[in-house]
Symmetry: C2
Subunit: 349 residues, 2 copies
């Protein structure tokens, strides 16, 4: 049994989403049990609303009296709210009472608290945020339903050295080989061109380091459009660039989805066309449904912490719980620790 602690109060909707998501995850996975962490009364209202699904014997509530606000300063949350649902969820991981935790709360506060409570794996400098994006083999559009590219860092580290990028590559490689079962994940550096002379100083220096690490299957540079062409399993970049790439993706997808909706509703005839086009449009909606890709992981910590999107739906939050389950089963933090240890010994030896 894998135990997962959920910050029931985090995110834009708190326990209104987290409680039903817990039930959904329990029904999706029969090898997990869940601890709902937060204000007992608020949680019990939602539990009562959900009726008493059969899985509820794998569910418990752990009271926490405080809530970290979505706009609260990470430093204040860390110092001032020692009994927050977020902090207590992480404490449960630290104490070994949960194998992983999931929160849809304030990213900065979650990062700062997780780092303070769980500590970094020795040899690593800062946590990185990694996220599995949809990608596609263009000759087989249906491949979008299974293909994934893990990209890191997505915003935790804005000023990165080549050594940081190397750390991200090592952690990403370990994660993907653990959770996707790919023995030698293809690692690429995100760059502004594919030729050797391209790149900023850090990326060019990182390319040298990655080429020399024979524990990595480093395949070279990919450009921004390569993210969506299934060219690599892991794409490494600094947190500034990663954040921009992720947000641009969201922006373009949103713009196109609004245009599709608009062009199928601009007249009565168009609306009728939309009815016949519905199966095709629904396929598209399913393929691009971001709730199937929810759950970013903080790598480099001595414990598994998964961040859900703040406005995640019930189904999306359940997907983040599944991600936490997988990383807990595969013991990703231990695997990273071993890999880093081996690297450090090599460097010393």
């Amino acid at each position: 049994m894998i135990t997962i602690a959920l910050d029931a109060m985090g995110g834009d909707f708190g326990c209104e989403v987290v409680v039903p998501a817990a039930f959904e995850a329990l029904s999706r996975c029969d090898d997990i049990q869940i601890i709902l962490v937060g204000e007992r009364q608020a949680i019990e209202v939602e539990l009562a609303r959900a009726g008493s699904p059969s899985a509820s014997n794998r569910l418990s509530v752990h009271h926490a009296s405080e809530v970290v606000g979505m706009d609260e300063s990470p430093a204040l949350a860390l110092r001032g709210k020692k009994d927050s649902s977020m902090r207590v969820s992480i404490n449960l991981v630290k104490a070994g009472r949960a194998h992983a935790c999931v929160s849809a709360g304030n990213t900065g506060a979650l990062m700062a608290t997780a780092r303070f409570v769980l500590k970094m794996i020795p040899g690593l400098d800062r946590p990185a945020i990694v996220y599995a994006l949809p990608t596609m083999n263009f000759s087989d559009p249906q491949s979008i339903l299974n293909e994934r590219v893990y990209m890191l860092d997505l915003g935790a580290n804005v000023d990165c050295t080549a050594d940081h990028l190397h750390e991200f590559a090592v952690m990403g490689s370990v994660l993907v080989s653990a959770v996707r079962g790919i023995k030698q994940p293809r690692i690429a550096l995100l760059n502004n061109g594919s030729e050797e002379i391209k790149g900023n100083e850090q990326v060019k220096a990182a390319a040298q380091i990655l080429s020399n690490n024979n524990m990595l299957n480093y395949i070279g540079y990919v450009e921004g459009d390569g993210i969506y062409k299934a060219q690599a399993d892991v794409i490494v970049c600094d947190g500034f660039v990663g954040n921009v790439a992720l947000k641009v993706t969201e922006g373009v997808a949103k713009l196109i989805s609004i245009l599709i909706k608009d062009s199928f509703s601009s007249s009565m005839f168009r609306k009728l066309c939309a009815v016949t086009a519905m199966p095709a449009l629904n396929d598209l909606k399913h393929q691009l449904d971001m709730s199937r890709y929810n759950g970013a992981s903080f790598l480099g910590l001595k414990g598994t912490v998964v961040k859900s999107h703040g406005s995640a739906s019930i189904s999306a939050f359940a997907t983040a719980i599944e991600e936490a389950r997988l990383e807990a089963i595969e013991n990703v933090p231990d695997r990273i620790q071993q890999q880093v240890q081996t690297l450090l010994e090599k460097q010393e030896g």
Copy 2:
């Protein structure tokens, strides 16, 4: 009359595209004349194929014996090919025989040659690449047909200081006020968050400088998704991030277009649906048609140079010619020079 020199041999298709594009531009704009620069014989074959459209009295051919290859090193092109169609086109601008030039050739070679021949405006360090992207007011999807956001730098400068970002902001502001008639263009810095504490070192320092320059209408940070929400008229970033943002956009748009095509062709019934959905799908295609957005400008030079996409269609290349016309009419390099001069005097004063 505005005279525009075209590098007839550049790009993936050379004069097969450039010659008919010249005719298209001549028929779109009756205040331009065009000089086709390149191998006379090859150009004349295409001219003959095009028949003799009535606009041809505004068209002339200027022979150039060499061609810069798409993968040729910029340094070699610069030193070794003094009679290339690219170089000669730029020479015509330098000599005052053309008001602007357009090339679909090798970006690096074009940049190096333009910089060598035309020289930088005093006070500016390096040219920047700027490009007008489609953007949209989400409450009015049809606004995509008119709204534009100018983004720079898109790849010429990968390692940028805060001062470089400031230069880009000044040049972008001048360009947009000239060619779009917006008196005080809204200038934003691309960032990994909208809060003041966000950003890498350069962006945070640039925010200070931009806030203190009261000649700019600096509105603060935008995130990657803000590019497509019509939040600013000019978005400033380093060339690494700009290139990634542009390529990610292309990648996502391509992925979605393949998925749309696939979902409307997976069965006979779906194909029939696509027929009725055609007007809506065609609208979408038109709205997202990148040929309506072709033509990146090199800013900071003492002359107007526009870069067309290497694989631009005839219509797209004609759009790049229109961009060059507009910048020549508005005399963008002179306007930038004046603005930079004023800034320099202020700093000294």
